[in-house]
Assembly symmetry: C2
Homo-oligomer: 206 residues x 2
């Protein structure tokens, strides 16, 4: 697309096409859609984007997203502060929160150790994790990092760093996903799920 | 996705997910991307969207988009004002302009007649077209409407309405697209392209 009939349109297309996975054609489609909607809708979208970027803060304790100060999880007095789940990203916190199965707190590392991508322990929120451990009585650390070489390396690094605390260390269960067929599962997952088999339980609830 | 760690994030995701083809997950991806960028980028995006919606005007002559007043085409004195190309939408103007093969002016109908969708001639920019014809000496009307039943109906309706003017009527050529194989072309297009064959020319330039 070369010629735009309006500079305002061209500017909006340019800005929208910076979003991941959005090209000039899709950006133009967005603009033509917005031009057909009431002015208030484009206004609300523009404001929401600006306010989000300006206003979002990060929890000083766990590095989760917040609207300023402590995050929803850390400021919730009903949460179990002695169980700490270590995750890679804010997305992982959202995913675990959506299960409604976890009542402890989190620590967001902001990545995993990856020599290939030049991410070393000092690039991650590990210093603040070690400080938290000093001042809080954590009984259990749950390693909820990705099931990759980098995730495993990071778990091992943290285990060594935190090893002197009297807390227990667990890791989220890996195995066959609910609804999956055994024959289509990769060998490593299937092998691990046999080795780490658990006592048979009848399904309760959900 | 149920729980967002921030209300500002939730609002931005909500607004972005109104865009056509964008769901909550993609909207969240956009937001997390914007949060990783400098604040100025989110600011520029938000402003560009708002300014576009507030500032864009439509050409009083041809209904093309403009930044206020006449559009780029109508205000260009080098354009041939006696050749008028009738198109369905602003997107079609952009597509024809991008070919750089056309030096006349346009008239944007804003749709085509479609009894199925309840679009009648009075819903389109036809009154202003008839007024333009009164005050301008148009020598040729080019019908560049979609090659559909609705497009053909609209062309015929306009031909009847404009038939009393001494201008000539043409329609854009339909046939095999450049690079297309004959064997994969539908019968109607192929049949028409044989009926409407043109004298053989050696390719000049592009």
């Amino acid at each position: 697309m070369a010629a735009y009939p309006s500079q305002l349109l061209e500017k909006a297309v340019d800005e929208l096409s910076r979003l991941p996975g959005i090209g000039k054609k899709t950006a133009l489609r967005f603009c033509l859609y917005l031009l057909r909607q009431p002015e208030a809708e484009a206004e609300a979208l523009g404001d929401a984007i600006k306010k989000m970027r300006q206003g979002i803060a990060y929890c000083p304790d766990c590095h989760n997203m917040s609207d300023g100060g402590l995050c929803q999880v850390c400021s919730d007095h009903t949460r179990d502060k002695s169980t700490l789940c270590i995750v890679e990203s804010i997305r992982d916190v959202m995913a675990i929160e959506n299960t409604t199965q976890y009542r402890g707190i989190y620590h967001v590392l902001g990545g995993v150790i990856s020599p290939m991508e030049g991410i070393s322990p000092s690039d991650l929120n590990i210093m603040t994790l070690l400080e938290r451990v000093q001042t809080n009585a954590i009984k259990e650390f749950i390693m909820a990092l990705p099931a990759t070489l980098e995730g495993d390396t990071t778990s091992y690094y943290l285990y060594k760093k935190l090893g002197e605390t009297p807390a227990s260390f667990t890791t989220i269960a890996r195995g066959i996903a609910i609804g999956d067929e055994l024959e289509y599962t990769d060998e490593i997952t299937l092998g691990r799920s046999i080795l780490n088999r658990v006592p048979y339980q009848t399904v309760k609830g959900k």
